[in-house]
Amino acid sequence: MKGNIIKYARDNIDTDVIIPGQYLKVHDYTELATHAMEGLDPDFHSKVKEGDFILSGKNFGCGSSREHAPIALSHCGVKAILALSFARIFYRNSVDGAFLLPIEIDQDAYDGISEGDEIDIDVSKNEIKNITKNQTYKMKPFSEIIGKIIAAGGLFMYKPDQD
C-alpha cells in the first residue's frame, strides 16, 4: 500500500483536535471529513489527498470514544496512521470499523520519515519502505486478533467461530 506522508511531529494528538466536539452531532461522513484535524491544522482538508498517510508521535487518538475521528480521517482519503503508539479506543475503532490501518512504528521510522515522503507499507512483511529516501523500517506486527479483523474487513466480517 503506497501513499504520501503528512507529518505531525508531536505526541498526544487527541480526538478533540481530530474532530472537535461541536461536530459530534454530524453523522454525514462527507461533511465530517471537511472538519478533520480542524483543531490542529485548519489547512488539512485542502492538502490531504486520497491514499495519504499521517505520521505522528505517541498516544495518537487519545481522548473520546467518538468514532467520528477515524471516520473523518478515512473519508478524507487517509488510509493509515503511522504512530509511535495509539490510544485504545481510536485503535479499535479504526480496526473494527475498517476505516484505516493503525500502524505502530519505532523511533527510527518516526525520525527517518519526513513530510511528503512516499511510503510503501507491506503488512505481510511488517515492513515500511521509504521510497523517497530509499530506507526500510520495521512496523510492529498486528496482534493475532487485530490481524484477523483487518484481514476480514472489519469486526462484522470476522467470524470468531471459524478460528
Binding site: N12, D14, D16, V17, P20, G21, Q22, L24, K25, V26, H27, Y29, G39, L40, K58, N59, C62, G63, S64, S65, R66, E67, H68, S85, A87, R88, I89, R92, N93, D96, G97, S143, E144, I145, G154, L155, F156, P160
Partner: protein, 423 residues
C-alpha cells in the same frame, strides 16, 4: 485471578483468563447516548446494505439510553438526533430511555450509578469513553465506539484483550478540602496521560475504604485520561448500601482472589494529598494549587459526569455559602435526581445567592458543544475531565481542571485558589 480477570472469565465461559488472552465476553448492560446512538444507526444502515440483518436486538432489556451531549437541543441538527434516538428506542423496544424534560434524565455515566443501571460483577459497555466511571461499583466498565456498540446490540458479546492490571494502593483518608479529583489528577500527573493505556487501573487500600462511592466514581471516571481500558474498585458494603438505596437487590459481589496478580503496584499517600489542578492542555500537566500560575480567570464551571455528582455540589456549596462569585460561574447538576436533592437541601439557594447560574444536566460545555462554550483567549477553571486544545470551545481558549472545591474557591476570588485559604 484479580477482579477483572474473574469477571471476564465468567463472561466468556472460561475457568480462568490471564492478561493478553483474547476473549469474546457476554455483555450484561450496554448504554448509548445522543451522539453514539445516531452513530450506531449509521452502522446499522451500512450493515443493511451489506445484507446483515439489523431488525432485532439481542436483548433490548439490557440496553439503556441517555440524552446528554446535545440537550437542551443545541440546534436543528441536534434536535433531529434526539428524534432519531427516540425512534430507535421505540422501534427496537428499548424501554429504559432517560428523556430530557421527562423526569429523571442526566449524563449517562451519572445515571449508571444514580439509577443503579449497572451491578457489581457486570460486563458493562457504553458508547462513550468515560464509561470507565461505573467501575467504581465493581463492574468491568469500558467505553467503545459505534461499530463495537452496534456489534454488542446485535450479538450480545464483544472481543476484549484481557488487560494487565495496575493496582493503586491508596493510604489513608483524604484531608479536609482535598477531594478524589485532586488525588486522581496527582496519579495521572505521575503516570502520564498514556500511563494506564490498555490496562485496568484498580484502586484499593485504606484510602478507598474511607472513601464514599461517589468519590470512587470520580477516580474511575478519570482513568480514561490515563488511557486505561477500565477503572475498578472491589465492591464493599458501601457499594451495597448505595445500590440498595436505589432499589437494587440480589447483588453478587465479585472480588479478586487472595493470590490475585497485578502487573504493577503503585502506592499513594492519600492522607497527604493537596489540592491539585491540571493546566492546559493535558490532564497530566498538573501542579499543586499553591504553585499554580497567576492567571485571571473568566469562568468557573462545575458540571459533567466527573464533577457534578451530589457530593461535588455539596463541596462547592460549603465554599460558596455566604460568599459571592467574582467571575461567571455555572453549576449544572449531572442528573435531575441530584438537582432535586440540591433543591431540597438548600444548595440551589446557596448557589443562586452567590450569583451562580444553575443549569440543566448536560455534557454541553464540557465537550465544547453548546451551553456555555469558551471564546478565544477565555480561561476557565472546570470540574470536568479533559483540557485538550479546543475541548471547551475555541481552540485558543484554556481550561484548568480542578476539584469542585477548588473551582468554587476560584469562582470567589477570580484566581486559582486553594479552598483552605478561604476557611
Amino acid at each position: 485471578m484479580n477482579i477483572v480477570e474473574k469477571i471476564l472469565a465468567r463472561a466468556s465461559g472460561k475457568s480462568s483468563v490471564a492478561p493478553d488472552d483474547v476473549v469474546f465476553a457476554d455483555v450484561d448492560k450496554v448504554m448509548m447516548h445522543d451522539v453514539s446512538g445516531p452513530g450506531v444507526l449509521k452502522v446499522f444502515d451500512k450493515l443493511k446494505k451489506q445484507g446483515i440483518p439489523v431488525d432485532k436486538l439481542w436483548d433490548p432489556t439490557k440496553v439503556w439510553v441517555a440524552e446528554d451531549h446535545f440537550v437542551p437541543s443545541a440546534d436543528k441538527l441536534s434536535a433531529e438526533n434526539i428524534v432519531k434516538l427516540s425512534n430507535f428506542t421505540k422501534n427496537y423496544g428499548i424501554e429504559k430511555h432517560f428523556k430530557y424534560g421527562m423526569g429523571q434524565y442526566g449524563i449517562c455515566h451519572t445515571l449508571s450509578h444514580e439509577e443503579a443501571m449497572v451491578m457489581p460483577g457486570d460486563v458493562y459497555v457504553g458508547g462513550d469513553s468515560h464509561t470507565n466511571t461505573t467501575g467504581a461499583l465493581g463492574a468491568f466498565a469500558c467505553g467503545l465506539g459505534h461499530t463495537d456498540i452496534a456489534y454488542v446490540l446485535l450479538n450480545g458479546n464483544i472481543w476484549f484483550k484481557v488487560p494487565e492490571t495496575y493496582y493503586f494502593k491508596l493510604n489513608g483518608k483524604l484531608p479536609d478540602h482535598v477531594m478524589a479529583k485532586d488525588l486522581i489528577l496527582k496519579i495521572i500527573g505521575e503516570i502520564g496521560n498514556d500511563g494506564g493505556a490498555y490496562r485496568t487501573m484498580q484502586f484499593g487500600g485504606s484510602g478507598i475504604d474511607e472513601m464514599s462511592v461517589e468519590s470512587r466514581l470520580t477516580l474511575c471516571n478519570m482513568t480514561t485520561e490515563a488511557g486505561a481500558k477500565n477503572g475498578i474498585v472491589e465492591p464493599d458494603q458501601k457499594v451495597v448500601d448505595y445500590l440498595s438505596q436505589r432499589g437494587a437487590t440480589n447483588l453478587n459481589l465479585v472480588t479478586g482472589d487472595s493470590d490475585a496478580e497485578y502487573s504493577k503496584i503503585f502506592e499513594f499517600e492519600s492522607s497527604e494529598m493537596e489540592p491539585i489542578i491540571a493546566k492546559p492542555f493535558s490532564p497530566d500537566n498538573t501542579c499543586i494549587v499553591s504553585e499554580s500560575p497567576s492567571v485571571e480567570l473568566d469562568k468557573s464551571y462545575i458540571g459533567s459526569c466527573t464533577g457534578a455528582k451530589y457530593e461535588d455540589l455539596e463541596a462547592a456549596a460549603k465554599i460558596l455559602k455566604g460568599r459571592k462569585v467574582k467571575i461567571r460561574t455555572e453549576i449544572l447538576p449531572a442528573a435531575i435526581s441530584i438537582y432535586q436533592r440540591a433543591m431540597e437541601n438548600g444548595l440551589l439557594k446557596i448557589f443562586l445567592d452567590a450569583g451562580v447560574t444553575v443549569g440543566p444536566p448536560t455534557c454541553g460545555a464540557c465537550c465544547g458543544a453548546h451551553m456555555g462554550v469558551l471564546a478565544k483567549d477565555e480561561i476557565c477553571i472546570s470540574t470536568t475531565n479533559r483540557n485538550f486544545p479546543g475541548r471547551m470551545g475555541h481552540v485558543e481558549s484554556q481550561t484548568y481542571l480542578a476539584s469542585p472545591m477548588v473551582a468554587a474557591a476560584s469562582a470567589v476570588t477570580g484566581k486559582i485558589t486553594d479552598p483552605r485559604d478561604l476557611i
